[in-house]
Symmetry: C2
Subunit: 299 residues, 2 copies
DNA sequence: GAAATAGTGTCTCTTAGACACTATCCT
DNA sequence: AGGATAGTGTCTAAGAGACACTATTTC
């Protein structure tokens, strides 16, 4: 485009500049990705004619070394120089599960100075949603156990204080993760500060029981994001098998939102996101239900 | 909590482990923050009785060195070892503007391998919204010019293709940034891929005219986020002065959404986000309008 | 008086919630 | 037959869009 190369104040062309550039001038942090791998799985069915209840689950790995040895952490790892952040996330996903075609979304980047006692670590978290039927978790590759945990959070209390220029609202939340063998939990304080015309939200770990690093905070943030997005996007379908009934889909919404929905309104709401098939789910001790599939034309 | 310290497989306690940890084992990327500083400013008023039109503006700096010397880039810089990501963002904000109490939100972290020709750079972008009345841009501290640009994007065309397992939708968008002296632009292709039950979105720069690095992509992403969030949050007020009329507030919504709104519906929608005052804006060649302020109680 | 904006009243259409009601299968 | 889920019809209340109408100022 330019015949005479532009020179900078040191008299270098761009080519010369790049050759002389010393990348090690600045001290650099480590960068990792943390994976929030969610699925919705069936619980044991108690009664041949009842629907089996579903639960939201998250994959965690047990730490086999310091720091936080023996505690549970999000799967993840360092980003290598020749891969993008998203490639690192996909790689981590494949070391933990057998799934390659998956919903993956970047959530947030955590950059506090003291997040990791080893060294300065900046960590980008990704949320992955997987269909529990296609899924099998690989046996601990890196000598760490990977296990699914049921997950729930619960409001404890809320307080609101007026200040000179706005309000401060503090909410306490309890996060619980458990399976047959273990129970982990954490208490978090979410502070919403309205100062003048600007609002800021801050998430602080009050207590973390058997959850490594600041991962309790990341997990609770992801839960809120998942709840928020299920209302106005189609991410719920990433958690479904190819064919599903509307009752099953409703169960997935209910377990994520943590509340019951009315069937009539729910069906109207998802009507244009799904396509009816001719197949039925039978032998269930009650009226058979039609199978549906995701409508890829939906916007 | 524990009297006998846990030892790992190498026989080290946590304390010993941390002392022997070699942080330089892995090659590390550089980490930067990029700032998207938006404001809404008055244009010249043409007629004593007409409202002065408003425009959405973004702050850019001219690059004084290679690479992309002479082109325009987002303000930003390296994250230093002793500050968090958010602290780095606030520091950058203060080197560019005089404002300290500001709306700041993390947007996205960009991690492609070849984003920067100098070295591997991972960059977290933050969006800041400032009130143009309180604002003054500092004279180029780091020898770079900082200038406001009016900003708009525009759909060029859209195509949708069916695939075996879903659909691929491609949208072309033109991004324009201009002021009295300069005009920058870029063409982007946004690809939405529906594959099975999962949806992915990809943003690619087709052509970038005088916009450095991959910043055209970051800017267009921020614009979409700003448009999305103004509908269901209160971020618009971060762009307003302490006192404002509802017509001014409506103008801000209109310039961000890029479309006209009906006054009656708009007033109903913002009614509980604002508090009426007794003051009026007068001497305007038409009926005076009441001043309002933000209602910090709004949730 | 005219131009321009400020502000209100009301009709319509759409959507979410509530809930009653019908349909169908399996043991 | 009875238990359980599947699926529909309809009333109501709330909200968004449309638009006509009134109000008030300054030059």
């Amino acid at each position: 485009m330019n015949d005479t190369p532009i020179k900078n104040k040191a008299g270098l062309t761009e080519e010369q500049f790049l050759q002389s550039y010393d990348a090690s001038r600045y001290e650099r942090p480590s960068v990792t990705v943390d994976m929030l791998i969610f699925t919705v799985a069936d619980e044991q069915e108690q009664n041949y004619r009842k629907l089996s209840p579903k639960s939201l689950q998250l994959l965690l790995v047990k730490r086999g070394d310091h720091p936080f040895m023996g505690q549970w952490a999000l799967p993840g790892g360092f980003v290598s120089p020749d891969e993008s952040l998203e490639e690192a996330a996909l790689r981590e996903l494949q070391t933990e599960t057998n799934i390659d075609d998956i919903y993956l979304e970047q959530l947030y980047t955590w950059g506090e100075v003291d997040r990791d006692p080893r060294t300065r670590v900046i960590s980008t978290s990704y949320m992955a949603l997987v269909d529990s039927e296609k899924l099998e978790v690989k046996a601990g590759d890196d000598a760490d156990d990977a296990k699914w945990f049921r997950i729930e959070d619960r409001w404890l209390r809320e307080s609101k204080t007026a200040t000179a220029t706005g309000t401060v609202t503090e909410k306490w939340v309890e996060l619980r993760l458990w399976n047959e063998a273990e129970e982990l939990s954490a208490t978090l304080k979410i502070t919403r500060t309205v100062n003048g015309r600007t609002v800021r939200e801050d998430r602080e770990i009050v207590e973390s029981r058997q959850i490594a690093f600041d991962h309790a905070r990341i997990i609770q943030y992801a839960l809120e994001r998942l709840r928020g997005k299920i209302e106005y996007t189609d991410i719920a379908f990433a958690l479904m098998p190819e064919l599903f009934t509307l009752s099953e889909l409703q169960q997935v919404y209910e377990v994520i939102l943590g509340k019951e929905l009315l069937a009539a309104a729910f069906r109207r709401k998802v009507a244009d996101k799904v396509i009816e098939t001719n197949q039925y789910r039978k032998h269930a001790g009650h009226r058979p239900s039609k199978y549906y599939r995701f409508n890829p034309e939906w916007t």
